[in-house]
């Protein structure tokens, strides 16, 4: 059954690839057969050559060159039979010249053209009744038609060669771009590895050394917890950096095994059923929210991360990943820019059927509240900008505003990118001012 279906598909593909040849051959065949029916060939030799010509016309889509040269041979042979009955050989001759012009090199096409022209000129020279025209001036018309057929075939061939050259050039350009990108990625991976991995490893080792030195006792529980937190965070970020390095080095392979992706798809596992995919997505987002809350709690910041709803069963992995990453970025920004004295933060995550919405608000630090030099973490300044680009690519939106002393962030990430349903109400996009040394969106 499969073999039969494969054969049928192969035949259909063959027909689709050759439909122009089949159409032109069908036209020539129809004209030939109509003329055969109207004036059947009288002489047996003429009938034989006409029959061979018909078979050759039918075979032109499959064996273009051989069939075309066979047609030319029959056209020349019929000139010697001296019988004008039967189908007009010119239909087949035009078809043959066009096909040879398309499928063969220029010298071969010119040879075929000259063969037909010279063969048709012989009866004119010998003043025979089967000449195409009694006069040489009349032959100009026929020579023009033969030349037109051959040149038509050659022009289609040139067009095809031009298209092939363009495609080849594009393919080379694409390959070159891929090579350049790969080299750039390798440089980036190397730079990230050299600059970040070492430092993070040192942080983790320092935390572990401190933990070993801390005596067991109730009084040191808070410090122990802090160092454990530092160690865990440093190892988690190191793991993520290794993952990023892997992505840069092998873009097609996603060996995501970081904590952010636990329970959410592994290439070795079979396809997860929809219910578990939705549950895994919910777990990922809730875990990202919980991680953020924990980090901020350790830093002494008050606030809450509320998560409501459930994502749909066919929620895209990219949307879930971006939502979790955005929650991490929001938590990091809160940690960088908010102080316990300024106020509390509030973050709400709503997982709906069409989109995952994240809303975060916190009071802005007053401009005169400067941080102590050497305390705090410098921001790169483009975290939210990168997330905005990613979310725009998914068909969502990320808006921020700083008004009336409050910072507000709203993000809407479609659960089915590229298939966005009705969007939420329009939110005016307002660029936020720099808030007390914080990052710009």
């Amino acid at each position: 059954m499969n073999a039969e279906a494969t054969r049928r598909t192969g035949v259909a593909r063959w027909l689709r690839a050759r439909w122009p040849r089949i159409a032109i051959a069908a036209f020539a065949l129809a004209a030939t057969l109509i003329e055969w029916a109207a004036i059947p060939p009288v002489y047996p030799l003429n009938a034989l050559f006409s029959g061979i010509s018909v078979v050759a016309i039918i075979l032109t889509p499959a064996l273009p060159r051989a069939a075309s040269w066979t047609i030319i041979a029959t056209v020349v042979a019929r000139l010697f039979v001296l019988d004008l009955s039967g189908p007009n050989p010119l239909w087949a001759a035009y078809l043959a010249l066009a096909i040879i012009g398309y499928d063969s090199a220029i010298p071969v096409s010119i040879t075929a053209l000259l063969t037909v022209i010279l063969a048709e000129c012989v009866p004119v020279a010998m003043n025979r009744f089967n000449a195409l025209s009694a006069t040489w001036i009349g032959m100009v018309n026929y020579i023009g038609m033969f030349t037109l057929a051959a040149v038509a075939g050659m022009s289609f061939r040139w067009r095809r060669q031009r298209d092939e050259m363009r495609e080849h050039a594009m393919m080379l350009e694409r390959r070159q771009w891929r090579t350049v990108t790969l080299r750039r990625n390798t440089r980036l991976a190397s730079r990230i590895h050299d600059s970040a991995s070492g430092g993070l490893s040192y942080i983790a080792l320092t935390a572990q050394r401190r933990l070993r030195r801390l005596p067991e006792g109730d009084g040191d529980d808070g410090e122990r917890r802090d160092w454990e937190f530092v160690n865990t965070q440093a190892l988690a970020v190191l793991d993520e950096i290794h993952h990023v390095i892997d992505l840069l080095e092998e873009p097609g392979v996603d060996r995501s095994v970081g904590s952010g992706d636990v329970g959410f798809g592994d290439a070795a596992e079979p396809v997860t059923p929809p219910e578990s995919a939705a549950a895994a997505a919910a777990v990922t987002i809730r875990r990202a929210a919980e991680d953020g809350r924990e980090r901020l709690e350790r830093l002494g910041l008050d606030g809450s991360f509320g998560v409501r709803g459930e994502p749909p069963a066919d929620c895209a992995e990219a949307s879930v990943r971006e939502a979790a990453a955005l929650l991490g970025e929001v938590a990091a920004n809160i940690g960088r820019h908010l102080t316990p004295a300024t106020g509390a933060y509030y973050c709400a995550v709503t997982m709906g059927d069409d989109a995952i919405e994240i809303m975060e608000t916190n009071p802005l630090s007053a401009p005169q509240e400067a941080r102590t030099p050497g305390v705090g973490v410098p921001a790169h300044g483009s975290g939210l900008a990168m997330h905005r680009r990613i979310i725009d690519g998914l068909g969502g939106e990320l808006n921020t505003s700083a008004e009336d002393g409050d910072w507000v962030l709203y993000a809407r990430i479609p659960t089915r990118p590229g298939n966005t349903a009705s969007s939420a109400g329009p939110v005016p996009q307002r660029q936020s001012a720099r808030r007390g040394g914080g990052s710009t969106p």
Partner: protein, 170 residues
């Protein structure tokens, strides 16, 4: 199918087809080619009616000598068969016209009866003949296919005026 196998199949098919074509050529070449000498016969007025012989139908009536003369001038057995009963039916005339057209088609001409068979139009479909040669071919084909004779007998039998030929050139 691998490329080598495909090439083998194509070669074998090509050889078979070529052998068929050559075989057909050898078989067909000795077959007769009627109407070959029509132009030359027309030029020198050659006519090759069937031998009269002693056997001929016993025509009766006022036209028996005309019918006997026509019988003796027949070139084909089918023409004689049509004349055996002393009259030419429309079917027999139509058959003779088909043979006549066969002869004309060898030289790129085609005839079409007009005016209910009283006349005909001859058209040049292909080729290039001068007018003198064309007239000779039309006359000779009419004679050698017995169409002219049978048409004459048919028209005289129905008291129709003598047929006329109209030439039409592309």
């Amino acid at each position: 199918m691998s490329a080598a196998a495909r090439r083998r199949v194509c070669t074998v098919t090509a050889c078979l087809l070529t052998a068929l074509a050559l075989g057909g050529l050898v078989w067909v070449a000795p077959l007769p080619e009627p109407w070959r000498d029509v132009p030359s016969d027309a030029a020198d007025g050659t006519s090759r009616p069937l031998p009269s012989g002693s056997r001929h139908p016993a025509f009766t009536g006022p036209r028996k000598y005309e019918l006997l003369d026509a019988w003796n001038n027949m070139h084909t057995e089918s023409g004689r068969k049509a004349l055996e009963d002393g009259m030419v039916t429309d079917g027999e005339l139509s058959e003779a016209h088909t043979v006549y057209n066969e002869c004309l088609s060898v030289y790129g001409l085609q005839s079409r009866p007009v005016d209910g068979g009283e006349g005909e139009t001859v058209v040049t479909v292909r080729g290039s003949m001068d007018e003198r040669e064309r007239d000779g071919v039309i006359r000779q084909c009419g004679a050698e296919s017995d169409y002219t004779t049978l048409r004459g007998v048919a028209s005289q039998g129905d008291s129709h005026p003598s047929s006329r030929v109209e030439m039409r050139h592309p």
